[in-house]
């Protein structure tokens, strides 16, 4: 039994490239999740029963089906209907769709937590509906949702490792190659595990800090 990390040093460049791809996919998926999450959260809190129902079904399905099944559905299914996206774009799309469901949860509770008085005041003062949403509802909801959104993002990063299953050589996919090359799977995956843990720990730390900063004057 031995644990030797030194022989992995020549592969650090490859792993860094994989990490960059993971970061890019997660950043794009975060943006996609946010757009989708805001849209769905608005639908779920809308007056129209149809909008609420459609949004509810979307969240229900994407929360209760494993991510890898969603990913395979898109990866193998989309080319079938003539949409050739490639592994990276499919991965980002799948992450955004899954992330959107959880993001909408966080934003929805943010919207529901807004004091009714604030909205009534805005309505009484004659602000148009779009302005009420853009200037009042969303800023308040997003601000109070920063910490939960942080944990959604952490889960997005963890889920992104599954993109290696559709031939994408992001961090985990690259590590598989390195493990096969060096015959040191234990060292490679132990290092990878710690890397992910540190990365997600930093993300939740910064989300917590940002949350406190943005909500400081409102909680005291």
């Amino acid at each position: 039994m031995q644990f030797d990390l030194t022989s992995l040093v020549p592969y650090f460049g490859d792993l860094a490239a994989g990490a960059r791809l993971t970061a890019l996919a997660c950043a794009l998926a975060l943006a996609g999740s946010l757009v989708l999450g805001i849209l769905v959260a608005l639908m779920r809190t809308a007056a129209s029963p149809l909008a609420r129902r459609v949004a509810g079904v979307y969240v229900d399905v994407f929360r209760n089906v494993p991510f890898i099944v969603q990913l395979f559905f898109l990866f193998y299914g989309l080319p079938e209907v003539g949409v050739e996206l490639g592994a990276f774009a499919t991965g980002v799309l799948a992450l955004s769709l899954a992330g959107g469901a959880f993001t909408s949860d966080a934003i929805r509770s943010g919207i529901l937590a807004i004091e009714p008085g604030v909205l009534e005041a805005a309505q009484v003062s004659g602000l148009p509906r779009v302005a009420i949403y853009r200037r009042i509802v969303l800023p308040i909801a997003l601000r109070s949702a920063v910490r939960p959104l942080g944990s959604v993002f952490v889960n997005l990063i963890l889920s992104s490792s599954i993109l290696s299953a559709i031939t994408l050589n992001e961090l985990t996919g690259t590590a598989k190659i390195v493990a096969a090359d060096t015959f040191q799977p234990f060292e490679v995956y132990a290092l990878l595990l710690v890397l992910y843990a540190v990365l997600t720990w930093l993300v939740s730390l910064s989300a917590g800090a940002l949350h406190r900063r943005l909500n400081r004057e409102h909680t005291s």
């Binding site: 644990f3 991510f67 890898i68 992910y196």
Partner: protein, 233 residues
Amino acid sequence: MMHYTDFTPHDLVLLVQGLGVSVALFAATALIGLVIGLAWATLRYYRVPLLAPLAALLAELLKNSPVLVQLFLVFFGLPVLLELDLTPVEAALITLSGNTAAFIYVIAVSAIESVGRDQLETARVFGLSRWQTLHRIVMPQAAAFALGPLAGLLVNQLQVTSLISVIGVVDLTKVGAILNLRTLKPFIVWTVIGLLYYLMARLIAAACARVETRLRAHRACCWMKSPARSIPK
């Protein structure tokens, strides 16, 4: 040239087998994870030196790293490190149990902490031992507190089992991959697989809700606030 074939009645058998493997591994690892996670939480409750912080660190690592990487570490890494043989099912059992244990630990710790310090003080003043306090005072309240998060965790862990297909366990997802490759009908195959997972998730959620209502009706207490489902995938 590869020859693609249509669905056969045998595929149904294959689906049921995959479903069985997924359910069996889910049930087994949930149970083992529950026992291990509670044991870790007990270490913390008794403030066992060295072991308690070690359990906390391990739980933190497992909670914050991808299950896929944990699977690879156990399935590809452990056999090389310890010079032993592991089948995919054994590796899946070890990994999923450990991962579930980490989340059970987190839930148990926050559930125990939800019981006010003043109650522990009172129990001590009344001369209850630390075990009696845990058994009589902390556990009933902590269990009620933990039910909501636990239901969320179970639904989540069912979905996590789908990852063991990547190391070659023939579970429901692997059966989907096999059928997908053979019939080249991805929409039908993955919709059916997704639907089966969805139904199982709803079943688990409904079962948990039933247990929760029963327990609440049984106790009829008003101090148990329903905790929100707080563990996203």
